[in-house]
Symmetry: C2
Subunit: 201 residues, 2 copies
DNA sequence: GTGAATTACCTAACACTGTTAGCAAAATTA
DNA sequence: TAATTTTGCTAACAGTGTTAGGTAATTCAC
């Protein structure tokens, strides 16, 4: 039954076409500019065809969210692998996170923008758990190495994420700031050093 | 010429009515649900009347942004005033910031949400400068007290803001997290302690 | 090969957005 | 009282997400 397969393949092709076109629009005009009608126009299909492949607009965005988390966790895992010392690992993770956010502004904005309030990302995107484990592990190691039983790793994980996410959002959202990239990197590095020192007691 | 004055007063009244109604909607249904037509319906005027008082929807949101920054900076200034020690001041500021964000979720979301990318807030809202000075001053004091000339206060200010803004956004946006308020406070306190310790060398 | 069933796809609409042009009625001024 | 300004409205434009319903092509069973 080659026909059914071909049909499935064609369906997949249209689906990918939708995603590719949508992504192009996002990259060129931002999330705000993305519209079902524009996608339909661009792929030369009528509007309802898109709804044959995605339940609604949110579903398309969610797809990109998944992609984003996939890329991010991969990058973070790679960065971590390059070091053995947990402190160095944390710094490398922070650096990779930072890099990802600025090399993939569109992804980052979607991943941590308004979308989060709409859908419970944790259930839909399992990569978020991967991210947590990735960061928590070196934190736990440092805490163990320094015999710190007064704090738990979960708390520290949140602090870690807050520092870096806060920095990224401020830099991403606040267009008016006139700080150079080098200074930004220094801020991140300084914050990370402080965080790790505080872990070590 | 009492007539002209009365007219001006009436204009002001309608303007306030628009803002009050809009605020009520935002509080009850969130920013997303706010629409010019709904406001017009609620105040029992036609749609174009709203455009006599505000250039566009953005202008209404900006008004709330201004209000939000006004309240925030006031709260922060009050918190700072209660202490003399710059470290204690920073902690108090962080605490007040935290409190504001969660007692005024709507304001915070607007202030640091998508709005920022749309308009250059710094030029439109002078309070942002007040906020920066408020935080920078105790930071500079601590740095001076410990004879630290290797870092500048501006960098540290960004770190401070990042930590707290990151924490708030993660807590505000990520609905899926099951962390209790007490733990959240501990995270903030821990991060602040780390930040200040890192300031002191 | 022919008829039935399925699939693919489109047109057109619904119910919303923000925004504005143009007009009628009311209020103020001369 | 007549002219002018102000006030507020209706109705439209150009978008948005979403869906109901119908047509034409394709595939399947006989």
């Amino acid at each position: 039954m080659g026909i059914a397969e071909r049909k499935l393949r064609q369906r997949e092709e249209v689906r990918n076409l939708i995603l590719e076109t949508a992504w192009e629009m996002v990259r060129e005009e931002g999330w705000q500019a993305l519209s079902i009608r524009k996608i339909a126009d661009a792929i030369e299909y009528s509007v309802p065809v898109i709804y044959d492949h995605f339940e609604n607009k949110e579903a398309i965005l969610l797809e990109f969210g998944k992609q984003g988390f996939g890329i991010l966790t991969k990058k973070l895992a790679q960065a971590k692998k390059k070091h053995d010392d947990p402190g160095a690992q944390l710094k490398a993770i922070a650096d990779a996170y930072w890099q990802f956010a600025f090399n993939n502004k569109e992804y980052y904005q979607l991943m941590f923008g308004l979308n989060m309030q709409a859908c419970e990302t944790e259930k839909v995107i399992p990569e978020r758990g991967t991210f947590r484990r990735l960061v928590s592990e070196p934190i736990e190691k440092i805490l163990n190495n320094h015999h710190r039983t007064d704090v738990n790793a979960c708390m520290k994980y949140h602090t870690f994420w807050s520092i870096i996410h806060g920095l990224v959002s401020i830099k991403t959202l606040a267009t008016g700031t006139e700080i150079s990239d080098e200074v930004n990197k220094m801020v991140l590095d300084d914050a990370m050093t402080g965080f790790i020192k505080n872990l070590e007691r």
